[in-house]
């Protein structure tokens, strides 16, 4: 090859790099490893990473069963090792799969249309707010405090440099958005209200009432959905204008936080302001049905600085996992799956309420609930950890006022005995705290 090119050594090809910047030493990185060593190294790391623990964590990342056909299919090289389907004739498989994904997400969210995916639920929510600003020509947003706190942080990052002021609205005793406060927060410059349902506490919001407030003032309603499985049993936010969803629950591994699968869905009239790729149906010259990426004039490779977003790479393969999951469970299975989640969480909340305070009663919940204890949940959790149980997420980091509260999650994978064990340990710790409190009183007496 060197001869064919007409050079003496490969180094000649690197002569454009000024000599002073050419690296003449080895990189100081680990030496080349054999495949067996690589596998061993990662298996060691897995042992140090929560392998074998029972977990009650949710909070935007959910542990659901992943049917084995998902990995069998997404590992086909034709899906795994192909690029964005810009050459449609050579990528019909990916394109038809995206079209089916868009259809199922639309069906589930109650929206007209959905895109081919966003990075995750947090960036999807931020992009939805920017989309609302473009649609309404207004400049500010009203955000529920019960939106996932890390989604709020991401939104802050995006909004700061887009000069979109954000107003926070608190929650009531039921855990739902405070509608009175919401009413006063919305004004004529509000582009959108952004809420989550089920919200960060697992509570289901009254979408229609919130939509009414938004629409009366000419603002859009964006609903973020972090727990996609809820859509099997909870009425979708049909009154919303944009749904910003995290679809991780649909067959995507927890994977220490990513890659996940954000997706936006909206009304037909807003589609040209939606960021991200879209697959559309068309025909070839013989009238045969086929699919192409379409409405590309919204995108960065055509519009450059005038694009709706800078997004390019999305989460295609993860969206395919979601797609296969939705296909496996389908119309009936998704409903049954969601019911199992509700039943487990209802049972667990009932058991916990015998020994501790379950917060936010009076509004419907899906598969998460907030438990308030006498003792700091961090202390309880470190005791649970000794029993190989990861307890609920302590909330004081995100909500200082919920000092002794933790967010617990149960899914179809949580067994009754796991719940009973965890409840037993929490009850024990509550009793010991109460006893400790009681002892000095006896001394006084």
């Amino acid at each position: 090859m060197l001869q064919a090119i007409g050079i003496r050594s490969v180094d000649d090809l690197f002569s454009p790099i000024p000599a002073e910047f050419r690296l003449t030493r080895d990189l100081a990185i680990p030496r080349q490893m054999a495949e067996s060593e690589i596998v061993d190294w990662f298996k060691q790391r897995a042992k140090e990473s929560g392998e074998g623990y029972t977990s009650f964590l949710g909070a935007g990342a959910y542990s659901h069963y992943r049917p084995v056909v998902i990995d069998a299919l997404v590992q086909r090289g034709e899906f795994l090792t192909s690029y964005t389907p810009y050459q449609a004739e050579f990528a019909q498989g990916t394109l038809q799969a995206i079209f089916e994904f868009q259809t199922m997400i639309s069906e589930l969210t109650g929206m007209d249309l959905a895109n081919a995916s966003m990075y995750d639920g947090s960036t999807g929510a931020a992009e939805a707010v920017m989309m609302a600003v473009r649609i309404t020509g207004r400049h500010s947003g009203v955000i529920a405090r019960s939106l996932h706190p890390e989604y709020r942080e991401v939104l802050d990052t995006y909004a700061t440099h887009q000069a979109i002021p954000l107003r926070m609205v608190s929650f009531k005793d039921t855990g739902q958005v405070d509608l009175k406060e919401l009413e006063t927060a919305v004004d004529d410059d509000t582009a959108c209200i952004l809420i989550q349902s089920p919200n960060f506490f697992g509570t289901i919001e009254d979408i229609e009432a919130i939509a009414e407030i938004a629409h009366r003032r000419g603002a859009l309603l964006i609903v973020s959905i972090a727990e996609a499985v809820s859509l099997g049993i909870v009425e979708p936010p049909r009154a919303a204008d944009i749904v910003a969803m995290e679809a991780q629950s649909f067959g995507v591994p927890l994977g220490f936080g990513g890659p996940y699968c954000g997706v936006l869905a909206t009304k037909e009239k807003f589609v040209r302001q939606m960021p991200g790729r879209l697959a559309g149906q068309t025909v070839d010259k013989n009238g045969k049905r086929g699919f192409v990426l379409t409405l590309a004039t919204r995108e960065q490779h055509i519009r450059r600085e005038k694009a709706t977003s800078n997004i390019c790479t999305n989460q295609a393969l993860v969206a395919l996992m979601v797609n296969i999951f939705m296909t496996v469970y389908g119309k009936v299975g998704l409903r049954e799956l969601a019911k199992h989640n509700m039943a487990k969480a209802a049972y667990a909340a009932g058991q916990f309420s015998k020994h501790a305070r379950v917060r936010f009663a009076g509004a419907p919940r899906f598969n998460e609930f907030v438990v308030e204890t006498s003792e700091d949940p961090y202390a309880i959790n470190s005791r649970l950890l000794g029993h190989k149980i990861v307890g609920g997420l302590p909330l004081k980091k995100f909500y200082p006022e919920l000092r002794h509260a933790a967010l617990w999650c149960c899914t179809e994978l949580t067994t009754r005995s796991m719940i009973d064990t965890a409840v037993g340990l929490v009850a024990e710790s509550e009793r010991s705290v109460l006893n400790k409190d009681a002892e000095p009183e006896e001394v006084v007496r």
Binding site: F14, L27, M33, E48, T81, L108, A316, T327, L385
Partner: protein, 501 residues
């Protein structure tokens, strides 16, 4: 039909027809099973009231074998690296090692919850730390975030940091300079961060015109976003002068690392003056493109930008364990929930382990060698607008073929008939009718020869029968699709045929 030009690489074969999944659905079919409920059943109507969903609309009902066949059939309609060379310029379609997929699925790594206590996350944190250390050594930078989900997201993160840095100096500045050869994401990103975009013309060698830059550079310019090697596959030979020019007026140098596959182990951006850059783990570090994602776009910076990294960052705690640090008052904030596309970190690190220092050097050399072999093989057959030396990719134009009315996209469609995925068409914009070809290091000489042979054969066809090329592809399941109709009246989802009343 011209048969003499049929390719040695591909032959037509039977491919299964397959409708949309919704068209196969019928009530009663199922591919799921739940275990018996071990807690009391709940009355969802009572618990949810008006919030109870009654119907899931047109969601499919199909059996497991139908699902397997459906997606397997669809998959066979795709081209993929696993089938052959995928010479998309700037996309670095290299082999995606299967060990990467295996280790990413190891129990414990695949199932780790992002909020599980740090005490039982040491393995995951160690992966993030080790990958960070490797990437810092490879780039010659000082600090890094792995949080961005893709290249464009990395650009956004980098530019947020540029802005935060200038703000900390008392003036955010107004604009970003971007060469006319840049990726579309660069100007889109600058706009997202609230900067005006000013174009920078390339010189006749396809590089940044340093004199023009000197004239355009002033205290209003926050940064220059440069891709190196640039989208012509040309190394910016005066990159250090560019850096000096930027720094002299208080500006920063941002490097789009999309083309890092040309540089790894041969030179380091940190050494030639770059202040902030992103990497694409799905390009340079072999994580799969998966039909368009997921990617991962770590951002590496010099010391002066470290305080502005997104939260959280991985630190070593006083007790020697690893943990996340959230308290970083000058941080630009978070750019996504949790810590980034962790699954991609595992794959990229496995790739680095499989290569080591020698392997990474060899990889870069082979990538550049392969591109130059193609360049030599096709020079004269296709117009080479810039004679400047090529690194990992080569850009031709359709100047010779367009005399017969055949454009780069037509040539690309004909290449499909020869069993190759097309190169990148019509980009970079500074070359009219560009053919941007990046073979990567993964291709054996036999595959490169087949590609060269195919491209030469197509050039002959253009001379003999241009219409045949214009009508391509001829051998695919479907012929060229009507994209105009798709955009004019978008059909973006399936709907059932309205049933007769």
């Amino acid at each position: 039909m011209t048969t003499k030009h049929m390719t040695r690489k591909a032959t037509r074969h039977i491919s299964q027809n397959e409708g949309l999944i919704f068209e196969k659905s019928s009530p009663g079919k199922a591919a799921w099973k739940l275990p018996p409920l071990d807690v009391p059943d709940v009355d969802t109507a009572k618990l949810l009231g008006k919030q109870e969903r009654k119907d899931l609309g047109n969601m499919p009902e199909v059996s497991e074998i139908e699902i397997i066949r459906h997606f397997t059939r669809l998959s066979t309609w795709n081209y993929a690296i696993d089938l052959g060379m995928y010479p998309l310029g700037s996309c670095t379609m290299k082999y995606n090692p299967r060990v990467n997929e295996f280790v990413a699925r190891v129990e414990g790594l695949a199932n780790g919850h992002p909020y599980q206590p740090e005490k039982i996350s040491q393995g995951a944190l160690r992966i993030m730390r080790t990958l960070s250390d490797c990437l810092l050594e490879i780039t010659g930078m000082d600090a890094i975030t792995l949080q961005p989900a893709a290249g464009a997201h990395g650009e956004l993160t980098g530019m947020l940091m540029v802005r935060a840095y200038h703000e900390s100096q008392g003036n955010a500045r107004k604009k970003i300079l971007i060469p006319d050869s840049a990726h579309g994401t660069n100007p889109a990103t600058a706009a997202t961060v609230g900067y005006a975009v000013e174009n920078l013309k390339s010189n006749d060698r396809g590089m940044v015109d340093v004199a023009a830059l000197a004239a355009q550079m002033n205290e209003d310019v926050a940064a220059l976003m440069v891709t190196n090697p640039n989208t012509l596959g040309v190394f910016e030979q005066e990159i250090h002068k560019i850096a000096e020019l930027m720094h002299a007026k208080g500006g920063l140098l941002y490097m789009d690392g999309a083309n890092m596959n040309a540089l790894v182990a041969k030179t380091r951006p940190g050494d030639f003056g770059v202040d902030v850059m992103h990497l694409n783990l799905h390009k340079t570090f072999s994580t799969p493109h998966g039909g368009g994602g997921p990617g991962s776009g770590p951002v590496a910076v010099k010391k002066i930008l470290e305080p502005f990294l997104p939260t959280p960052v991985v630190i070593t705690k006083p007790d020697g364990t690893l943990g996340f640090e959230y308290n970083r008052p000058q941080s630009v904030g978070r750019v996504r929930a949790f810590y980034g596309n962790f699954g991609m970190f595992i794959r990229a690190l496995a790739y680095i382990f499989a290569n080591g220092p020698d392997g990474l050097r060899q990889t870069t050399e082979d990538a550049v060698l392969n591109a130059n072999y193609i360049r030599k093989g096709l020079e004269g057959v296709y117009d080479l607008p810039y004679s400047t030396p090529s690194m990992h990719e080569v850009v031709f134009s359709d100047k010779l073929q367009s005399k017969k009315g055949v454009k780069t996209m037509d040539l690309a469609k004909r290449l499909i008939d020869y069993g190759f995925h097309p190169y990148t068409t019509a980009f970079p914009l500074i070359v009219a009718g560009a053919l941007m070809i990046e073979p990567t290091e993964s291709e054996p000489k036999e595959e490169l020869d087949l590609f060269i042979e195919a491209m030469k054969s197509i050039a002959e066809e253009v001379e003999e029968d241009p219409q045949y090329v214009l009508d391509a592809p001829h051998n695919t399941r479907i012929s060229r699709l009507d994209e105009t109709a798709a955009a004019r009246k978008p059909v973006l989802r399936w709907k059932p045929e309205p049933s007769a009343p």
